[in-house]
Amino acid sequence: MKRFAKLIQQLELSNKTNDKIAALVDYFNYADDKDKIWVIALFTGKKPRRPIKSALLKYWAIEITQTPDWLFSESYSNVGDLSETIALLLPPAENTSDFQLHKWIEDLHDLEGKDDETKKSFILNAWNTLETQERFIFNKLISGNFRIGVSNKMLVNALAKQSSLDSAQIMHSIMGKWNPYEITFTELINGTHVNTDNSWPYPFCLAYALEQEPEKLGDISEWQAEWKWDGIRGQIVKRNGELFIWSRGEELVTEQFPELHFLIDVLPDGVVLDGEILAVQEKQVLSFSTLQQRLNRKTISKKQLEDAPIGFFVYDILEFEANDYREQPLSERRKILEQLIGGLDESAVILSPVVKCKTWEELAELRQTSRSINSEGIMLKKLSSHYHSGRKRGDWWKWKINPYTVDAVMIYAQKGSGRRANFFTDYTFAVRDGENLVTIAKAYSGLTDKEIKEVNSFVTRNAIEKFGPVRTVKPELVFEIAFEGIAESKRHKAGLALRFPRILRWRKDKKAAEINTLEDLRQLLASTFIND
């Protein structure tokens, strides 16, 4: 546990990728094999089941430290993290322990199904044997996520460096389905488990945003242009009579989308497709807000199936006849895909069309029409490109249309959490509605640290009212808010909701009188609605 605590500390303290990778390599060189498994599991979001509710941890911590509830809340809002607040509040440990990470995880696992008294005495005993930093991690094992800025790619790079194995293979291996209680470290990084597992997906090939003129990419004939769809990137795997649907978040979402289950009878074995899960009606893509009704639901009602039918727009084929086709050029893969999918006359599985243009200008013009078909721009893929693991510069580009923007005034500010626990970083924005201001979006990020400090200073000086962590501020600061879409919403006072709002820039040149009106947004809503 001490070694892991040190790793976390090192990862938290550095902003430099190389330092983080060095810390990970160092850890993988010396840590216990069983611990390594768990570190990979934790960092890739494979959390062990939580045997204890965080509310109970808080309750016990309050009880043994005799901290009043309100003082606990004050502390929590300063620290910004529950696990850490508890770790810091507790008195110094009286004992020490050399238990390793996996031992703690296994012991926690064994608590499942035990009564609260047993759980409590285990937790209290643990708290009394761990140092503050270890305690924090211990609490996180129970109640939280390790958000410490280690991407899968970074983790894989460190493992590759440490083991001298191929990084794509490791990525492949750790992304598949494996049980941290059963697998060994060597098995895991060598990927012995993935061959016997029908479900394993490939790492998605991702694109960078195009920041230059497309002309710089060379001759348009070397490129395949497609619409960029705004849904959930997914991979459909059919092997040995089984069908799996993976989302980009490395989650198996097969059950959520019954519309696609017929593929089990249609696709041959040994096929993996890359595409986009979208709300689709009569082969037309519906808005993201329609798709949203179908996401993260445990059960789906008949009405939801009717209101938001799902379809899969296929981009690529990664495996065919049980062979890995990722090293084949895109042009070859597309041919196979057209034979396989093009022949299907299904309304739910559609080959994502190639946009054919003779010149970049022609394509640029077409791109402007993206919104009319609920697309967010154009994807550019080099015809000769392989299907890379992760993001690689050069072969795939996303050429998105510019977002919608609105000028709005800040009316509430709230302190952030984590790194930003002591700064007002979460803002609520409003537009004008006659004499009134009506909130339209909440957004954070998009500002530089320096700007955050400036806004923070403004909030401190211009707070009108205080509701817990929220401050009402004088409506004075104007920001340009970018967003990806707009939808009707009964939950919001404005009657509409913005999709993915974020701060584009601080309009210091504008006064609150010059912001947009609710009517402006209503008009925008009306114009996008027609396309649904």
Partner: protein, 351 residues
């Protein structure tokens, strides 16, 4: 009648007609310590601890009219007895004890309980009313013993040197810097920024036993610095000078470093929770030891700390002051004026 009142110029003793740590110019300013949020330019007369005198003369002006007292000594002003007791915050920091017709009030300025090896150790003083800071007045702020923290710093430095990294500690010129010097001095040479070297000179001349350090000059080589410990004030933090060192890694020594969010926000390479302010336990112990019937809570987590005292049966009131707003880098972490680092007056760019 109460011995002190809180006015817009600062803490005022009407009976004695003087102020303690006023923030607007007054005739007579009793000064707890040399940090610039507690002692300002423009007062006609100053009364401070003997060790604070050369510090404020150096930092504010040689022309100041300053009277001094040692700890335990007293003077009478308009019938009010004024005496000083160690506050343990920095060299020369004093709690100001006022006594008038049997009524006793102690204004503690900034204080910490732990012996830091260089300031006189905090001494609790019985009183009727007590003015306390609350910079770290939340129970999540409980310090480890300084030996443990210094061991961490030392091992950080000894990890850095063989990796060709330059260890740069960010510490306030007055107080934290001397504490670091005193406790880190040993095999590794300590290089200090001009503003720190200047203050060290003053402090050593005043008779304080401070280990030897090396003033950084344009002739100091990167190689020398890489093999030593570099201490610079907060104003230098994001300077090009640091970036140009050989693989610089920065370490911040501040109580705020107790919390991950602060550590990450500061984007330093290392954070060491080392504070010159009392932690939660220290504040509570100090207050209890005074036996005060009334506690005025100034700068820090005033609302929470004051509420807690009241709940504990110690009558308390939060008071708005201008303390903790400018000078002390520990107060800077979540304060507004982070851009305004104008407190390091001496040649910060000349290094």
């Amino acid at each position: 009648m109460a011995l002190i009142e809180f006015t817009k110029r600062g803490i005022y003793c009407k009976q004695g007609d003087f102020y303690v740590d006023p923030w607007w110019p007054v005739d007579y300013a009793v000064t707890t310590h040399g940090h610039s949020d507690h002692v300002r330019f423009g007062n006609k007369h100053y009364l401070c601890h003997t060790l604070t005198k050369p510090i404020i003369k150096r930092r504010i002006s040689e022309d100041l009219d300053v009277e001094t007292l040692n700890y335990g000594e007293s003077t009478v002003r308009n019938g009010v007895n004024i005496s000083f007791y160690p506050a343990g915050h920095i060299i020369g920091s004093a709690q100001v004890r006022l006594e008038y017709k049997g009524e006793i009030c102690v204004i503690s300025g900034d204080y910490k309980i732990e012996d830091d090896g260089i300031s006189d150790v905090f001494e609790p003083v019985k009183c009727h009313s007590f003015v306390s800071e609350s910079t770290f007045g939340l129970p999540v702020y409980k310090w480890q013993k300084q030996d443990i923290v210094f061991d961490k710093i030392k091992s950080w430095v000894s990890d850095n040197i063989p990796q060709q990294k330059t260890s740069v500690l960010i510490a306030y010129s007055l107080g934290k810097a001397q504490r670091l010097i005193k406790n880190l001095a040993g095999d590794v040479p300590i290089y200090v920024h001009n503003s720190i070297a200047n203050l060290n000179e003053v402090i050593i001349n005043a008779g304080v036993n401070l280990p030897e350090t090396i003033r950084i000059t344009p002739e100091t080589t990167k190689d020398e610095l890489q093999k030593g410990i570099v201490i610079v004030p907060p104003a230098m933090r994001d300077s090009r000078w640091i970036k140009n060192l050989s693989h610089p890694v920065t370490g911040i020594c501040s109580g705020w470093m107790q919390v991950r969010a602060h550590r990450r926000w500061q984007s330093a390479d290392a954070g060491f929770a080392l504070s010159d302010h009392a932690d939660w336990t220290g504040l509570m112990d100090a207050i209890t030891a005074t036996g005060a019937e009334k506690v005025y809570v100034t700068h820090g987590f005033t609302a929470a700390f004051s509420r807690f005292l009241n709940d504990e049966g110690i009558e308390s009131e939060e008071v708005m002051t201008k303390f903790g707003q400018e000078d002390d880098e520990e107060n800077k972490v979540d304060l507004i004026d982070t851009e305004n680092l104008n407190t390091e007056t001496e040649n910060q760019t000349s290094v």
